[in-house]
Symmetry: C2
Subunit: 798 residues, 2 copies
């Protein structure tokens, strides 16, 4: 019956997320490799199979090759990993699904709609609550730490022996960071970093393992508290986005697989389509709580994720964002003993920018654009340095204990450098009556004065940013700012990518604010009439935007986030121009930081459009072929064998009707997923050949939902030899109307269809509707614009 | 050769925008009509053809039927008109297109990208400039008018004879309005109203005739100046959106067909896909200039139009919006002799809401929600009244001179009512030192006092809104506000839908601000400790949001527009809650005002999703069939005959390959549009049968672009009898890979594909890839959720 299933053995480079292959092993051992170099107009074009000799030469000379040195560089930006699965944004409209939808009344749909709103409200509430907990914990821990160190410093300033203070500070920092690094490195490595690249991938449709688990959330929250309290050059804002996403993925499913607790609610939402919508809402709620920017949160989610704009979904996302920022604000106002005061909507508060005092003039716009360019340059430098560092870490720092040690080292160095900077600084400022410093360090300053360098270093980064924005002109001297920028730049660059939970937003803002303020001070000093440049805080804000834009390269959403965080719409245009310039300048050199890290993970990330010059590529050239297909009624043994084949590990299989009197591929009549087959095998939905049909429990959608999302591996399902001879009727379970394209379809057209509908598998058919290939995510993500035109990436199993 | 073309004669209800038919006339004269009523669970389901007797009974009893009384109600919300064509957001990737794309270098694509940015900048600049002109013209004309009337009133207050002032006022108003109404009614009826429903339709993908012409823009701008200066209860903000869209459609094409001027630039953008993107940018720039809300503008465009979210496009739209508000602000600052002052970014300026003075408290949120509900109720009432009025107008006021007379009548009545209200009001307020009134009317008040009613009525609506928001507590007494709300509500309701260019945003805000302020005053009077409710301006703002939300039912974009217009992020949450409540309450009774007017025009508007309970409908039931197809090489005579058939007027034709030894439909191999065929016929791209092939000019994409968008009608193309015998080879020009779906595809799935890709024609094929039907916009727009479940609308040629 499996006459269409091609049982040749495949290359180990076979596709993981679909039933298509790139490179069948024609004689069983020969390895074939394509290299392609093409460019648009006038460029060279070379396609073909290299001979074995060529190949070997190539392998030895090309260090980046998969097989060349796979141990040394498991992550490589010129590869696409096949280990990532896709999310399926396209509902499998099989008979079970259609029956359920038909049974559902109009009222039923209304109830679902209300559930969605309730879930979004809950997501917002819990995200806000988590943000609030993080904020309070960090404030208290950091407060205790700075209090102890400050007392110690004051004690030893007079009598000498400040090295003891330094040691105390460094030990305290390292201790905090050690806790944070240990839980991340040993318990949940997925909680490392800001989580924004992971969430970007998830919203893009890539299933990153363990990214939305409860354990990840717990480790993330504890980790971020430790690393911020430990004085690293990090922020607690980025991780909020990840936290929001995990909350959303948990709440929307109405159960926790980790806690083995099923509340039996929201069962309808147990599928990729719905879950991804909620995760978008969670990410938006996270942004909203982090920056007090609900609109910015919505735009972030849309920019990263939702390829298909849906008004109701957007509105719900906005609702979650609003609830999130409101919850945070409300609980913080109670904590701060000013209940009802709604003036701190986010974790980072830029403080009030009054339009009158800091309005900009038209002739300042060219200056802002110059600052944008500087931000782009510095951002590119940051990214390149961090890229090298990450490569180094991947090669040499991959054991957990090494990672913990590196984190502790960074913490100690941060404390030491900070201490040295404060110690050698002689920038004393008078303590004003409206003193906003929380831990003013007098050190060697005269009485009634404090060390200005300490406001930048001896403080949580959020407070330092606010001081740079709002302290009156003259609070910092230029040397302090230059030194601070320089040291903090390298510290932040070293810190990003450590095995701790931490974000890069705040350090970027801090670096930018420092050189922006410096820029403002210098401007004021070189212009004859200093009064018009009187407010360096304005330049600090623009510098912060430029630096952040130069590093992360977000566009619309970042503009709105910055505008909302300043609470002043007037700055919209300059911030937009600055971000635009920073992006253009930065993109000239290197990609954004998140994109670099995504590439280093070899994630098959789909950009918004196919590369511009790819119109001449067709589905035939792009698709994986031949395809493993099943018949409508297929032998259980065949199915088990195909699923067990670890070298292919396909996830989707076209279902075909054999064409009479032909040994060719069959006509497409459906598409079935590995996960569905697993559930069918588990419930033994077999038809025995001898008897007409076994009386068996009718399978329902509920059975598929219960298994979602952690479907058991095929190895855990025991199928007896007798059962192997049974047949399985796939008709009821397959998606009977998968999207198909003809072979001649151009790549941009395939790309558009794939991206707009959030597909996982796209079947390529010939004019007779026979299956000739399958397009999956990695087939589209492989092509990208390189320096010399269109380039194709290698695929790797790692 | 045309063996597949079905040459039966069709019903006059045939589809206009596609090659598919709903109801073939099986015996030439019998008219068949479907009625369907279905509901989800447990409802009744009835589908079938009514017998002729049933039909006649039905026709006499059912006034709304198409054929029942088509003369009386040419517009009907239960019909879908077939006169509207679709825009095609899907590129026709024929050989010419692919060749051009292949020839283009990477640099070429970069240049195109830069052109797009330049165009967006231009769109923003011109839109801002137009907004500036409108603002200055209105200010001056209204200023002169109010000055003259004020002098007259002051002259006659002492000596008596104020009826002369009344007449002067009414005559001035009517004169302005007459000019505005005459140009709209006689020269360009498409410029009537705010234009927002039309732009919504355009962005949705419906080609509304004449909506983006230069003439429409000129009439719109002059019309809106006249109607606002004429004292009607209208605003100049809504029309800005339409103006921006027209600017975009013109600039992006690099030529004006009206002025017969082709600049030979931007030729690449002469197709629906690109044009629609630019029109989105134009609409956003319009919103941005109107409200000083660039982010709100972007969200408006996205909410209404872009089904496929594209980051670069969004970013460009944002750029256009920013430039637009900046241009307006810059020129207004020069006009106001404060160059460089960037504090008036929009046509309407809500004034400064300082967060300290008007911060809200948690316990006020329930009050805001109540206000939202009131706004929803009043909005629904407004919409229902306006709906009846519109039906009345459609039936009885359809001649231009009647329309002009109605507009003049409304102008005179507005003046009379305003005068009466001011005359009988005895709400005198002292003239403060910081007098913000431009035309304080003393009338019968004591010296040093002014008539409070006059600040609301004797003023442009924008200034009245600002007074209601910001005048100190006590500026208005409750009676004044109640009377004002009542009269202005009915005036605004009567005014919307007149044959003048005018928007409904400002009147809605004004009504809402009035009752919101009243609400605030009443609250302050009933609470013992009045101080916490001290600022009625806050309630005026919330009331304005509620009323506007209740009328137009926009969601996210309106929230952001309101927040940006107030310039204060703090109000985000209450405004969102208010708009949400207003929408829920309002939707319970009736749709939003724009949707009502779109329905009354019988536009096939596609909502974001298929109706919830439509999963059981399949493509087979939805599609139009049989389909008029062409062969790859088709006889010219056949093509001309099919195109000339006025009863069908198809716009897209599948191209098929005949199946050997079968009289059945052929296999799909492409899709060609009417417009393409017209160009081919015009350029006589024929192959004569006698000779092998004529030497002829090779057709290029340029020829299609030159004809875009006003392709000549088939009647204007002369084809001789000899030429009719020639053949035409469509291979090169057809889209070789149109999207197809199998017959069993469910309606939501078809809908999603159609909507996400912005298709115009979707071919339905059987398992052999033979064409069995064609789905076009009207096939999907027909289904909607009614009171009793899913309902199907009738199609009509009108």
């Amino acid at each position: 019956m499996a006459n269409i299933t091609k049982k040749v053995s495949w290359s180990s480079r076979g596709d993981e997320s679909g039933g298509g292959e790139r490179t069948p092993l024609l004689n069983g051992s020969e390895e074939v490799r394509y290299t392609r170099q093409f460019s648009g107009d006038g460029g060279m074009f070379h396609i073909g199979r290299l001979s074995t000799v060529d190949l070997e030469e190539d392998m030895t000379s090309d260090e980046d090759s998969v097989r060349g040195c796979p141990k040394e560089i498991p992550h490589n930006e010129k590869l696409l990993s096949l280990k990532y699965e896709s999310l399926d944004y396209d509902n499998s409209e099989n008979q079970l699904f259609l029956e359920e939808e038909r049974r559902m009344s109009f009222l039923g749909f209304k109830c679902l709609e209300i559930s969605r709103w309730v879930i979004c409200g809950l997501i917002g509430f819990l995200t806000g609550l988590i943000a609030c907990c993080i904020d309070i914990a960090v404030e208290n821990l950091a407060g205790v730490k700075y209090f102890v160190v400050k007392q110690n410093i004051e004690k030893f300033t007079e009598v000498g022996g400040l090295s003891i203070s330094l040691i105390l500070w460094a030990v305290l920092n390292s201790a905090f960071v050690m806790v944070g690094a240990v839980i991340v490195a040993f318990f949940e490595p997925g909680a490392a970093g800001s989580g924004i690249p992971q969430i970007k991938c998830y919203l893009n449709g890539v299933k990153i393992p363990r990214v939305v688990r409860l354990k990840t959330l717990v480790v993330k929250v504890c980790g971020v508290i430790c690393s911020v309290a430990g004085g690293l050059a990090v922020g607690k804002e980025g991780p909020m986005i990840h936290s929001g996403a995990v909350v959303a993925a948990g709440v929307s499913q109405g159960r926790s697989t980790s806690l083995k607790k099923d509340f039996k609610i929201f069962e309808y939402f147990r599928r990729d389509t719905e879950k991804r919508d909620f995760v978008s809402a969670g990410a938006a709620a996270g942004v909203s709580a982090a920056f007090g920017a609900p609109v910015g949160g919505v735009l972030f989610s849309l920019e990263e994720g939702a390829s298909f704009w849906n008004q109701m979904l957007t509105w719900r996302i906005f609702f979650a964002s609003m609830i999130s920022t409101f919850t945070l604000n409300f609980f913080l106002s109670i904590y701060n003993k000013k209940p009802g005061d709604l003036s701190s909507p986010g974790l980072i508060n830029f403080g009030r920018f009054e339009s009158d005092s800091v309005a900009y003039n038209l002739y300042e716009i060219p200056l802002f654009i110059v600052m944008g360019a500087v931000g782009g340059l510095l951002g590119a430098l940051f990214n390149i340095l961090n890229y090298w560092l990450t490569i180094f870490r991947i090669r040499y720092v991959h054991r957990p204990c090494l990672q913990v040690m590196e984190a502790m080292l960074v913490a100690a160095v941060t404390a030491t450098v900070s201490f040295a900077m404060i110690y050698f600084s002689n920038d004393c400022q008078p303590l004003g009556p409206d003193q906003s410093e929380d831990y003013p360090l007098q050190l060697f300053c005269a009485d009634g004065e404090y060390n200005s360098m300490a406001t930048a270093f001896f403080n949580t980064p959020e407070r330092s940013v606010r001081s740079l924005f709002h302290n009156p002109p003259g609070s910092y001297n230029p040397l302090t700012l230059s030194l601070f920028t320089l040291t903090y730049f390298f510290l932040a660059c070293w810190t990003y990518g450590l095995t701790v939970s931490a974000g890069v937003f705040i350090p970027s803002l801090l670096i930018g604010a420092a050189w922006g303020r410096l820029f403002g001070i210098l401007l004021a000093s070189i212009t004859p009439n200093g009064s018009i440049w009187a407010d360096p805080g304005k330049y600090a804000l623009i510098g912060a935007a430029a630096q952040l834009g130069g590093i992360v390269r977000m566009t619309l959403s970042l503009t709105v986030i910055m505008v909302e965080a300043t609470g002043n719409v007037t700055y919209g245009l300059p911030i937009m121009l600055v971000l635009l310039t920073a992006k253009i300048v930065g993109d000239y050199f290197v990609e954004g930081l998140y994109d670099i890290h995504i590439k280093l993970q070899s994630v098959p990330f789909l950009h918004l459009e196919a590369p511009a010059t790819s119109h001449w590529l067709t589905a035939r050239e792009v698709m994986g072929a031949p395809v493993t297909c099943f018949n409508r009624i297929e032998k259980v043994g065949t199915i088990v064998d195909v699923l067990s084949n670890t070298s292919t590990n396909h996830n989707g299989f076209p279902v075909v009707v054999p064409v009479a009197a032909s040994d060719d591929m069959g006509k497409i009549c459906g598409l079935i997923l590995r996960s569905q087959l697993i559930v069918l095998l588990k419930h033994k939905v077999f038809v025995e050949l001898a008897r007409s049909r076994l009386t068996q429990r009718k399978l329902q959608l509920k059975d598929f939902r219960d298994a979602y999302p952690r479907f058991p591996p095929i190895q855990s399902i025991h199928v007896s030899q007798d059962e192997r001879e049974c047949m399985m009727d796939l008709t009821e379970f397959m998606n009977p109307t998968p999207y198909t394209v003809p072979q001649e379809t151009s790549l941009p057209r395939v790309f558009k269809l794939f991206r707009a509908l959030g597909l996982r598998h796209l079947v390529v058919v010939d004019s007779e509707n026979r299956v000739v290939g399958l397009v999956t995510r990695k087939d589209l993500a492989r092509y990208h614009m390189g320096k010399h035109g269109l380039e194709e990436m290698q695929l790797a199993q790692t």
